[in-house]
Symmetry: C2
Subunit: 299 residues, 2 copies
Amino acid sequence: METAVIGLGTMGMGAALNLQRKGFAVTGCDLRGPARDELAEAGGKVVARAVDLPGNLEVVLIFVVNAAQAEAVLFGAEGCAGKLAPGTVVISCTTMAPEAAKALGARLAEADLLLLDAPVSGGASGARAGTMTVMASGPEIAFAKSEPVLTAIAGKIWRLGAAHGIGSTVKMVNQLLAGVHIAVAAEALALGIRAGAEPATLFEVISSSAGSSWMWQNRVPHILAGDDTPLSAVNIFIKDLGIVLDQARALTFPLPLAACAHQLFLAAAAHGEGSKDDAFVIRVWQALTGIALPDRAIA
Amino acid sequence: METAVIGLGTMGMGAALNLQRKGFAVTGCDLRGPARDELAEAGGKVVARAVDLPGNLEVVLIFVVNAAQAEAVLFGAEGCAGKLAPGTVVISCTTMAPEAAKALGARLAEADLLLLDAPVSGGASGARAGTMTVMASGPEIAFAKSEPVLTAIAGKIWRLGAAHGIGSTVKMVNQLLAGVHIAVAAEALALGIRAGAEPATLFEVISSSAGSSWMWQNRVPHILAGDDTPLSAVNIFIKDLGIVLDQARALTFPLPLAACAHQLFLAAAAHGEGSKDDAFVIRVWQALTGIALPDRAIA
């Protein structure tokens, strides 16, 4: 089966390498030479511009940064939509507003192309292992045609219905929760430190209590280790919670906690932490109150 | 070993019944006749006023509602502190501000009495089963003397240090996280419903994703079942987040997310939901936006 992956970042590279390894014909597309080199070394074909992709593709996966880039690689001056055969399946794995996913589906339908609205999660390790989670909605025929591709890249495929926008909605709700959980983990840990609790013990107790969350267990160890190397950066949640808040504003829907968490990530970025690990939103409290955070040299 | 349990609510009754079952001499103290009757039927002794407790107690457990009540049952006109022998251990399981726990420890020390600052969690089922979690700090001698009692009532005993206030600090941090996680679960589910996601599917996807929390998994099913019978009520989190915010204000420590969640529980109570299950803070969004929540009759 002839496939393409547009956008060879962490998640896209993981998808492309799994397809290559599992016997699919893969062409990767990325402006960045080192990304193309990595896939080429694994045996894949590569191009720099979407317009240069092969014309006989059956499934095109899109892993770009946002809705505007997804539009550009399909319908821009150097986009590929014009050369795709009718019935080709486009799988959009980019996090975008549900309204943007619906608009993309409508525009592709005009060109007789099929869309799966299919955001992903699972992080770098899941992408490389071929076990990412896909939250997908779209027409049944699109699922049927792309089944082997989805199975090759994902450990879990959620089939969320025929309408575009549902996949992106579920992803949006997940990002809302994830962002607030990171910010409140920082707020709570900071209070505990200020009140005299030993951070590592506090982490251990809460992790086995009703106050725990996936993000508490995943992110607090970064703070305890004093390691702000970004696995996912503060700026990513400024972007993702921004998408959530923009979409909710369009729906006239109030999100006080998401808005508050967004402000805390903005405060961290204002303090110079934008490119640091997102758990270091806790430096907002450090800067304001002078609490001592665990030191990498000591940890 | 001669023990007493003051306050036979859900958690106190669980502790008293486990002590009785495991061979301790237990006297329960509660103003409420039905609570006394339940323990008496199980073979325990009972009194209505703390001043009427036996004089030969070795360990006194306090499960009252707040710090003021704990002070009253010890040092009030009908309190028991005056009749306790020097060296008796008082285990305070009440959720209170760390400063209140420190003050209680100091006042007991003046009377040659020992305090464990030992808030609990684990809910009704854990209390009855003798598997509640105890987050305790206090002098080593107090731990040593009360070891058999703690083992009889708890599945997990955290020993958090010698200083009073640490147990209460850890509990405070847990309640901060728990309260925010309930409120953001409601906010996120409400947005998902408004954006067109199917609530039960959304619950299932998020429960296995990075947006999950202990509270998401525990409370969202109440909403899906349309069952607002209070396992823990909106008013409890108005109280507990109020303790957290008061304590943080005393430390000049900003908690924007906890303050926002507190306002949401207050909004729910203003709308008449104070005595309903805490997950029904989601009715704030129902009232404002008209979203349809799952119906108990349909579910």
